[in-house]
Symmetry: C2
Subunit: 193 residues, 2 copies
């Protein structure tokens, strides 16, 4: 079965290799806009769906499309990728407010075209992150690595920023960008792997 | 400051790079035996200490030695590296008993020789892992990758086995093998980084 990852993220590519090495990457740019009146958990799935559906529409035959989207959430406010350096610094400072916890929500969409039939899975994984105290100097040092700008919430715990994470409750792989555990269950259930 | 990692584990080497790229690796074989009458948390620190102390004893001058040890624990039983394929399969089946949870305890020892003074840090990180149901076929498939034999508890969540982990509560990096978050705090406190 042809497996297509609808993401240009090198992190998602690495994570999908935990399940299979036999896949290709096809990405189509979509406007990542979801209905703001929906719960954030649904918005994340909607954006993943837009990405997956766009690739499904330009491909043919028996195939599986895998798409994901990740958002950082604190006090019901969404944090996507920062606009610039200053915005990245602000985001991290906001994540440190109060009890220094926030959530990472990762939407997962799997579109299956198999035996002439079409099927969609939409799901998500929610994890909680506990940050330590981080000084302004440490925030700037992290942002100046240049790795903050393409990350939701302006950080990545698998990079140098990881030393500032006290603990997590949830799915580490989903925090990094792809809920591989849930994805594995779907692909197994569909006899694709 | 000269930083020495007293471990041949490629995973610990990768994790230490989150803090610094400037370190060397020196390993001395030690008998990994701890006083069984001690709590497991202390035994893990003792074994890490044996590794670190052995390297400290064969080196000179201003230097920091970092050593770690990781054990999997369920119902107060310790799981180190499996003896063989059959033992690996048995270990994983035991980890699946009951509520399918277990703990990973990672001991961390930092030995600091700085400004002519000697100082030791001993600490540990404890995390909880929730496994999903895993079929016998899936267990054998994992063990047959050959990656189970050098891992405490016969698994590694950063490898293909990760798809069988439902969630964790704790420090992911410590589960993989090095409590980088705690290590960072120690090195920062000592003005080494």
């Amino acid at each position: 079965m042809r497996i297509i990852l609808a993401s240009s993220s090198p992190r998602r590519k690495e994570l999908l290799k935990m399940i299979t090495k036999d896949f290709e990457i096809i990405v189509r740019d979509v406007e990542e806009i979801a209905d703001e009146s929906l719960p954030i958990e649904e918005q994340v799935q909607e954006i993943a769906y837009l990405k997956g559906k766009a690739v499904n529409n330009i491909t043919n035959g028996e195939r599986v499309i895998i798409a994901a989207d990740t958002l950082v959430v604190k006090n019901r406010k969404k944090y996507g990728k920062p606009k610039d350096r200053q915005n990245a610094i602000e985001m991290i400072k906001e994540l440190l407010e109060g009890d220094r916890t926030h959530e990472v929500i990762s939407g997962l969409v799997v579109i299956i075209n198999k035996n002439g039939k079409y099927k969609e899975y939409k799901t998500y994984e929610k994890s909680k992150i506990f940050l330590k105290e981080i000084s302004d100097e440490e925030i700037e040092k992290w942002v100046d690595t240049g790795k903050a700008l393409d990350k939701a919430g302006a950080y990545a715990m698998q990079e140098e920023f990881g030393v500032h994470v006290e603990k997590i409750e949830g799915d580490y792989m989903a925090i990094v960008g792809l809920p591989v555990s849930k994805l594995y269950d779907i692909l197994k259930n569909e006899n694709i792997i």
